[in-house]
Each structure stands twice: as structure tokens, then as C-alpha cells.
């Protein structure tokens, strides 16, 4: 089952360009159709031989140019997506790309936007700054890197946003001190967006929370691993209300098995989005495969349409 009902496009690589010795941009367009609009902070998924890889769009969302551009840092891992893109994807070639998603949207209600970027973590902020320049909202960028020459889009950003962009190329300790200074004493109505390596994000998110800033004002981009269960396995289920025990085959969902057995479960979307087919988990371990339940809820609930048990589980409808 396609968990997200995503639309895929066959896109042609229009051009590639090195912006630093290790960072390259790729621009994609369709030869047959207009590409969907997207918002600031959106990303696309590319289908590569090693699996799906997600990259932020760096285009201006209001330019309406019907092309998608990403910036990829070659992290040098053998067999990795970035290395493949750098070495094997050339202009004129076709790549399968999923329609844009957005887990890192701009908060329109903010009085001021504060962007904190490290390294290649700058990418989502390029679309955000372009968008906010159009809408006339206030923002500042604090961008940490190792040096100006290795800092992607350094001169473009400096030229386009001379008053808003601030760069930090100093020693690590000094950098941390200065960035913490920036974060301190923020006023009501500020939204803080953080993107960079995991350790960088963890550090500054923790720091912001320590300052008493509300969770709803702190945003970060983490690409989620695709949650699709690769090789579904059969499992056993006992349903407490009816005291029935049944087997869910590997090619069948828990929801289908329950309905076949005559156990009524309300359902709607069958793709783990709407939450209608939620059931209580009394015992056993569950592979969650949806986007609806909170982490807390996952401890005692599951969605019968897409999530599966491991071995034997007990549920209550």
C-alpha cells in the first residue's frame, strides 16, 4: 500500500553547478507538465538507486518558475546518495521526484523570524528568506560555517540580505558563545528555526528550551526516515472484546484481518493519516507505520490500517 499517496514526477536535470568545492546544486524541471507550487521550507524526495533521499528546495516559492533546485553536499560516504548525485547525475538525465512536502513551514503569525544555520543546513532558509522578502516580514539569519570559501551561497546571501545575514566562521567555542548570545533575550512573537547537523540542532534546541522558550516557537528540520515497512511479516492477534485470536498474513493489514473475522472497526483513509481505525494495544510490540499518533499515544494505541504487530500481540477494539 502506498502510505502517503504521493505523486511522482519524471524530472530532467536542467543544470548542475558547484557552489563550493563540496556542494553542488541540481535544477530539475518537467518536460510535460507544470510542477506543483510549494511553500518556504519544503523539500522533495528523490528516488535514487540506494533509496529515497530528501533535500530542501532552495527556490523562491513566489517566483513560480516551475523548476526545483536543491543543493547537495557530498558527504563522501561510499554508496551514499550525495556521492551518487555528485558523480553520476548529469544534466539531461531523468530522475524520479516526489511532489514537495513541508515539515518546516514558515510561521506566518511570527513578528520576527530567527534562522540559525550550520553548514549545508542553510538550504531551507534560502526559500524562507526569499519568501519573507516578498511578504515584507522581519527576519535575521545567523549562519555558522568553517570559512567563507566553504560557506555555501556566502556571497549571494551577503549581497541579497546585507542587513539580515550574520556569519560565524570563528573557533568552535567562540562561535557557541556568540550564537548563544544571539538566542538569549529574544522577545515575544519571535519564532526560531534551526537547521544543521543533528548535534548542532540538539544543542541549540536544548539551549532555547532552557531559556524558557515555548516548544511552539522552536522549529527544526529533521528528515524522517521513510516509515514504510519494507518486508511485512505475518503476526498473531488476540482481540480482547471478542476473545478471538487470528492471524494477519504478510500481504494483509490488521484492519483487513479484523474485518474478515467479523470484528467491526471504524476506518476511513486506510493510509495512517486520519486516525479513525485506532485500536488499543494491551500487549506485545508494534511496528508503527503512520503519521497520526503522538509518541505518547503510540505506547498504548496503534492504527490498524498500516501498523503491524511483531510475533503475537493483544489488542482491544
Amino acid at each position: 500500500m502506498n502510505t502517503f499517496m504521493q505523486k511522482y514526477y519524471q524530472l530532467k536535470v536542467q543544470k548542475t553547478e558547484y557552489v563550493t568545492p563540496t556542494i553542488k546544486t541540481f535544477t530539475f524541471a518537467s518536460e510535460s507538465e507544470k510542477l506543483p507550487h510549494f511553500g518556504a521550507g519544503s523539500h522533495i524526495s528523490l528516488k535514487l538507486p540506494m533509496g529515497k533521499r530528501q533535500y530542501s528546495l532552495i527556490n523562491d516559492p513566489l517566483q513560480d518558475e516551475s523548476e526545483y533546485t536543491i543543493a547537495v553536499k557530498n558527504v563522501g560516504t561510499e554508496g551514499g546518495g550525495s556521492s551518487f548525485l555528485h558523480h553520476h547525475v548529469k544534466p539531461g538525465e531523468t530522475i524520479e521526484v516526489a511532489s514537495p512536502e513541508n515539515y518546516f513551514q514558515i510561521r506566518t503569525e511570527a513578528r520576527r523570524h530567527l534562522f540559525l544555520a550550520a553548514g549545508i543546513g542553510i538550504t531551507p532558509f534560502l526559500s524562507m528568506m526569499a519568501f519573507l522578502s516578498h511578504t515584507g516580514q522581519s527576519f535575521d539569519l545567523y549562519y555558522a560555517g568553517s570559512s567563507a570559501s566553504e560557506c555555501a551561497f556566502y556571497s549571494t546571501i551577503k549581497k541579497r540580505y546585507p542587513d539580515q545575514a550574520h556569519f560565524y566562521f570563528m573557533e568552535r567555542e567562540q562561535k557557541e558563545k556568540e550564537l548563544q548570545n544571539v538566542l538569549r533575550n529574544q522577545c515575544i512573537g519571535t519564532h526560531i528555526y534551526i537547521c544543521g547537523p543533528s548535534a548542532f540542532m540538539d544543542h541549540y534546541i536544548t539551549y532555547c528550551k532552557g531559556l524558557g522558550y515555548p516548544d511552539e516557537n522552536i522549529h527544526s528540520e529533521r528528515f524522517r526516515p521513510s516509515s514504510t515497512i519494507q518486508n511485512p511479516k505475518a503476526f498473531q492477534v488476540t482481540e480482547e472484546q471478542s476473545a478471538k485470536t487470528l492471524y494477519v498474513n504478510s500481504n494483509q493489514s490488521l484492519l483487513e484481518a479484523l474485518i474478515d473475522e467479523g470484528i467491526t472497526v471504524p476506518y476511513a483513509c486506510r493510509m495512517g493519516v486520519c486516525g479513525t481505525c485506532e485500536v488499543e494495544v494491551c500487549n506485545g510490540s508494534v511496528l508503527h507505520n503512520e503519521t497520526f499518533l503522538t509518541e505518547e499515544e503510540k505506547k498504548e494505541k496503534m492504527l490498524a490500517c498500516v501498523s503491524r504487530g511483531e510475533g503475537a500481540i493483544t489488542i482491544k477494539v
Binding site: 511570527a110 522577545c187 515575544i188 512573537g189 528550551k209 511552539e216
Partner: protein
């Protein structure tokens, strides 16, 4: 985490605000009073409050909606704002003509603008700071059937 509370108040309610401040501080909270004085640039003052702060507005009922709007404009979220107004009356939003007026104990009254007899329900709008009031017709039992 340091909980920051701003108390915004008019001069008439300063005493009440001070009592509140003491309560908050005794509970270990961090609190500041922002008084409505002549010449104060309230919009500016509010927008310089720290991120994560809560605001408690204690004021005359007529003032409170304006103060609330200013706080929202400054960046406070609805849930960060607590209102205490003096006078013990509430607002009713006339569902027939949209006029907002006050009411006290009596829930059924005539709208001052369209003169329809209306009855306040418990459907509350934080935006209007008012309860929705449904029309009451003279035919018996009909008012119960209007809620939508």
C-alpha cells in the same frame, strides 16, 4: 524553566495587581507589573517582553478587549493571555445584528441595537471576548431549537 508573568493593569486595579504579583512570586515565579500610565507606548512595551512570557491583564471591562488585541499584536498567543476584568458583567454577541453588549445575571434581554430578544449561550469567542446570543421568540419552546 523560569516562568515569566507580566501583569498589565490600569491604575484602578493596581492594588489587585500587586496582590497577584505577590502570589506569583511566593510560588517561585518571576513577575513584573506593567501599569497603564499616561504617555506609555504600550505597543512598544509589550513587544519587548521576553519570549515565553505569559500575560495577565487586569482592567476595567471596557478596556480589556483593546488591551488583549495589543497583546496579540505584540506576539502573545491566545493561550498566553489571561483576562480578569472588574465589574462582574459579560459580553453578548447578538447573532441577529452582530452588536456586542454587556449583560450581568439576567441571560435573556433585548439587543440594544436591533431590539430582538436574545439569550446568551455558553458558546464563547475568545476573539470577540463575547458569548453568542440566540434569538428568543414568543412562541413557546422555540428558543431551544435555534442552536446551530
Amino acid at each position: 524553566m523560569i516562568l515569566k508573568t507580566i501583569i498589565l493593569t490600569d491604575q484602578n486595579n493596581m492594588e489587585r495587581a500587586c496582590d497577584r504579583k505577590n502570589d506569583i512570586q511566593q510560588a517561585g515565579g518571576n513577575c513584573r507589573i506593567l501599569g497603564l500610565e499616561e504617555g506609555i507606548d504600550l505597543e512598544k512595551e509589550l513587544s519587548f517582553q521576553p519570549l515565553g512570557a505569559q500575560i495577565l491583564i487586569i482592567a476595567e471591562k471596557d478596556l480589556i478587549q483593546n488591551l488583549r488585541q495589543l497583546a496579540i499584536k505584540a506576539g502573545f498567543k491566545q493561550k498566553d493571555i489571561t483576562l480578569i476584568h472588574t465589574g462582574g458583567s459579560f459580553n453578548a454577541f447578538c447573532s441577529q445584528c452582530h452588536h456586542i453588549q454587556t449583560f450581568t445575571q439576567q441571560k435573556e434581554f433585548d439587543c440594544a441595537n436591533c431590539h430582538q430578544t436574545i439569550e446568551a449561550s455558553d458558546h464563547f469567542s475568545a476573539y470577540h471576548q463575547a458569548y453568542l446570543a440566540y434569538p428568543v421568540f414568543t412562541q413557546k419552546n422555540q428558543s431551544d431549537e435555534t442552536k446551530g
